[in-house]
């Protein structure tokens, strides 16, 4: 029979391997069924040693589970491609997607308002305060959303595939790329201009560029902290 102590030990060991909750629940459920069968097979045996001898110890099971779980995911089989090359591609895709989405929103706003945004096109008139505000909002979205979204994706992917430590690397790459991203708006009196790109422009990094990297950087630091905490807890338990 699957004793509560045995189950708790198993669940703890599986959590220590950073496996997803749903995976743990199913594995524990099936192993408990198996333990029940073992009990029915030999009801006079001491439960815990018998389970350990036949099923494997909680640590052995957790390590095997992690190994097979990793092998079952693309991220587990190719962590470098997923967590190192992946963020670069995902950020470019996220930026293009965000810009296209914003263009669609502007087009929609223009349609709904009866051409308020397009009436000055080609006239050489400076953009209205409303247009400038809209552009500033769009600029803000482009500077922060793709990086926050990429961070969220890779943290989630790391958690889902049991490779949380690799997602720290992803957050670092996202943070570094965020610093290199610039997006500038200007109004020279004849029309608004919006320029964006990636590049190292000497040490002329402004506060907004640093702010762009705050979310991925903060997440990376928090995850590193948690990893270090987890390691010291494990060491304390082992001691």
């Amino acid at each position: 029979m699957a004793s509560q102590a045995w189950r708790s030990q198993l669940i703890e060991a599986l959590h220590r391997q950073h496996l997803p909750r749903r995976y743990i629940e199913r594995l524990v459920e099936e192993l408990s069924d198996h333990a029940d069968d073992l009990f029915l097979e030999s009801p006079n045996m001491d439960v815990q040693p018998h389970n350990d001898a036949r099923l494997g110890t909680a640590e052995q099971l957790a390590q095997t589970a992690k190994l097979h779980f990793r092998r079952s995911t693309f991220a587990g089989r190719h962590p470098v491609v997923t967590f190192v090359a992946g963020p670069l591609m995902s950020m470019v895709a996220a930026l293009i997607g965000t810009v296209l989405l914003l263009v669609a929103v502007v087009w929609l706003v223009d349609c709904v308002t009866g051409g308020v945004l397009s009436k000055n096109d080609g006239t050489g008139l400076p953009p209205s305060p409303f247009e400038m505000t809209l552009m500033q909002v769009m600029n803000c979205i482009v500077r922060f959303v793709p990086f926050a979204w990429s961070t969220w994706c890779f943290v989630r992917l790391g958690r889902h595939s049991g490779l949380s430590r690799w997602s720290i690397a992803s957050c670092g790459i996202v943070a570094a790329t965020a610093i290199l991203f610039y997006s500038e708006m200007s109004n020279d009196g004849t029309g608004g201009r919006w320029m964006m790109g990636f590049g190292w422009r000497g040490w002329k990094i402004d506060a907004v560029q640093l702010a762009q990297s705050v979310i991925p950087m903060a997440v990376a630091v928090a995850m590193l902290w948690r990893c270090a905490d987890g390691r010291s807890e494990t060491l304390a338990t082992e001691a």
Binding site: L55, G56, Q60, F69
Partner: protein
């Protein structure tokens, strides 16, 4: 398969082959599979029984198996079946395994290429 009950490392991949082969005969749940392996191998192949579940879950993720909760002997169990992809993989793995066994056998029998050269 982990722990002191494990077979040598070079048997990696064998549990998958056995699982696919046994499930090709009939759908089974984990405990059933462990019993079938032990019976079929006359207890020569032993491993931590719990380690079969991560393997089953991985094979299911790879779409080689499908699972369904069913009532078996009055108890609700997760029963695994071989899918079409699983059958294909089984055929491939069996061929590979047969070739490996033949190659090893040939070396053990001391065939032309397997004979050690005289110094």
């Amino acid at each position: 398969m982990a722990g002191k009950r494990s077979n040598p490392d070079f048997l990696n991949g064998v549990p998958e082959l056995l699982i696919l082969q046994l499930l090709d005969r009939r759908p089974m749940h984990g405990y059933d599979l462990v019993h079938a392996i032990r019976q079929a191998s006359a207890a020569k192949l032993e491993f931590g029984e719990g380690c079969i579940y991560p393997v089953l879950h991985r094979l299911e993720t790879e779409k080689l198996l499908s699972s369904r909760r069913e009532l078996v002997g009055g108890r609700s169990r997760i029963v695994y079946r071989l899918t079409k992809s699983g059958k294909r993989r089984l055929a491939e793995t069996r061929t590979t395994w047969t070739e490996i066994v033949a190659a090893v056998e040939s070396i053990l029998q001391g065939s032309e290429h397997g004979k050690p050269s005289l110094a």
